[in-house]
């Protein structure tokens, strides 16, 4: 299934389409240089430089009004940049939007369907707009509906769909044209936790099985951090950090203290002394049932041993400052 889709994808890519590459030689499916969009005096996107490697899931993260949607609209040729250039799948989105739209699927922020048509009829219209022959279209509609789990609901009028169903139908709609790149604007917005997980699963499956590059925007970090290979953090029209999550995290933590929460039994003075003895731990405090360790580096790997050596058992161990949230807030406050 995945294999077939993959060969199709490469077949549809146009010859003579040379992707730019980064310093490691990885092909870049999106590449912008000094991309700028101003509305009058207001600069919504400010000299943006970033790239997305082919095959990655890239997360464009930033608070409301950061300029994520504006950037996406420019990438798709739906609005013109004030300055700067970009290449999407090798094409210039401003001058050649049609070629970009042929191979890029886009799920808008508030995706809408023709309410008086059924889900399936909506997809048929998309297929016709893409010039997919009828038979082939039926096949693709069937398979993309199956992928998003909408086969039963597809013959209901789109006006009756819930937010989650619309979002899934939107993904099916995007998959129809065998895209090489899929751009999802806030795909998890307004979904319940179950819905979010299902959708993220779907995105990962799409990316891994069909080798589709995915670029998604979000302001919900912990959701997105699970699935993104790389993220770009976007604040007030500027990309303040870009890289994989590990790297960003290390950067953020440089020179900052970490708090580690520990619970052990027994939790007497002996245990505390043992924990204080770990290199890198600066202080140990009690907070209710927990011990809070301030450290200058991540010492979680040493804690279990220290606790064991002190004759106690470790019940709980947690890094209080964790992941993207930290990175995000660091940049938000400073940005």
């Amino acid at each position: 299934m995945g294999e077939r889709a993959f060969t199709e994808t490469t077949q549809t890519s146009k010859p003579g389409l040379a992707l730019p590459v980064d310093e490691t030689g990885a092909p870049l499916i999106v590449h912008t240089s000094d991309l700028t969009k101003a509305y009058g005096d207001f600069v919504a996107v400010d000299r943006l430089n970033f790239s997305v490697r082919e095959g990655d899931i890239f997360g464009l993260l930033g608070p409301n009004g950061a300029g994520k949607t504006t950037t996406i609209l420019m990438l798709l040729g739906l609005t013109e940049p004030t300055a700067g250039t970009m290449r999407v799948c090798g094409f210039n989105s401003t001058r050649d939007p049609l070629n970009v739209k042929r191979i890029v699927g886009y799920l808008p922020e508030n995706v809408g369907f023709y309410e008086e048509l059924t889900g399936r009829e909506n997809l048929q219209y998309t297929a016709r707009l893409n010039g997919i022959p009828a038979q082939e279209a039926e096949r693709r509609i069937e398979s993309s509906l199956a992928q998003v789990g909408m086969l039963e609901a597809a013959d209901k009028k789109a006006g009756q769909f819930s937010r989650g169903m619309r979002q899934r139908l939107g993904i099916a709609d995007v998959l129809l044209k065998n895209p090489r790149l899929v751009i999802l604007d806030e795909p998890t917005l307004g979904l319940d936790p179950d819905g979010v997980n299902q959708l993220l699963d779907l995105i990962v499956r799409m990316s891994r099985q069909q080798k589709i590059t995915v670029m998604l925007s979000s302001h919900q970090l912990h959701q997105v951090q699970q699935i993104c290979d790389r993220v770009g953090i976007f604040v007030k029209g500027r990309m303040v950090a870009e890289g994989n999550i590990e790297e960003l995290w290390k950067q953020t933590l440089k020179g900052r203290r970490l708090i580690i929460e520990v619970q052990a039994v027994p939790q007497g003075q002996q245990t505390v002394t043992a924990l204080q003895g770990i290199e890198g731990v600066e202080a140990v405090e009690r907070s209710g049932e927990m011990l809070l360790l301030s450290c200058n580096r991540d010492v979680r790997d040493k804690i279990a041993k220290a606790v064991g050596d002190a004759g106690a058992a470790l019940l709980h161990l947690r890094l209080l400052e964790h992941g993207l949230e930290d990175i995000y807030f660091k940049y938000f406050r400073e940005g």
Binding site: V104, Y106, P108, E109, G112, Y114, L129, N130, G131, D185
Partner: protein, 313 residues
Amino acid sequence: MHGLSAVFEKEFRDHCGSRRFMILFALICLAGLSAVYVAAQSIRSDLSSDSSTEFVFLKLFTSSSGVLPPFLAFISFLGPLVGLALGFDAINSEKNSGTLSRLLSQPLFRDSVINGKFLAGLATIALMLASIMLVISGLGLKLIGVPPSLDEMVRLIAFLLITIVYVAFWMAVSILLSVLFRQAATSALAGMALWIFFAFFMPMIAGIIANVVVPMNADPDTLTLLRHENVSQMASRISPTTLFQEATVTVLTPGIRTLGPVLVRDVIGMIPSPLSVTQSLLVVWPHMVGLVALTLICFAASYTKFLREEIRA
């Protein structure tokens, strides 16, 4: 190209299945059938007294007994309504429901969206008007029992074409308004305002313009009168409603020889014979060109606004 045909196909199917279409169709059918019925009654009573049956079939569409206006008057009143109704939410409703950004992220030119919608509306209008004309001609034929001559048929087809162009003009206006205004209610209202302006206020404004350009004193001489009348007519021809009314009256009433003022000097020695079809068509040709030009202006304006507009969901 597949973009344009896909949009056309979908929009045409939407129109034909829509309640809006049913209502308009029923309304015009009702107007047409009753107007022709009333006209046929009076024609029949005329026929028994006077044996001339020349152009009697055309009278079905133009004459009235005073109970109901003739079909021609109904159409010139309802036609704009049909055009406005088919286009007033063409673009803005798609913007508001979030389908436009999905549509425009497919590989088609933006003008294909407007063109596809316009052509679908045009096809709908043509279908609607042609079938109504057929139905009421059938009824008329049954009532008066005189079949139309070839001449009359050509005139009726010309009338149908002029009407289609006129309604299409109003649809182009309403598509433009749907590009300009975000709310469908606003664009519908703006369309109505324009329609009322052209139908009721334009003649008055044409008079005012003529008064300014050619001031009239208490006892104007013939030349001044003539110039005044000409200016007034020219000014009112800015209005598509005037163009349509002049054109259809000319086509359906062969007795009308010219649309401008006529001097007694010219009438002396004039043979009171009806114009031939070709002559009538020549008289209305500029009107057709005018209507098409106005339609194209609406298109140009829609393109200018829409083609570079940023579409946010």
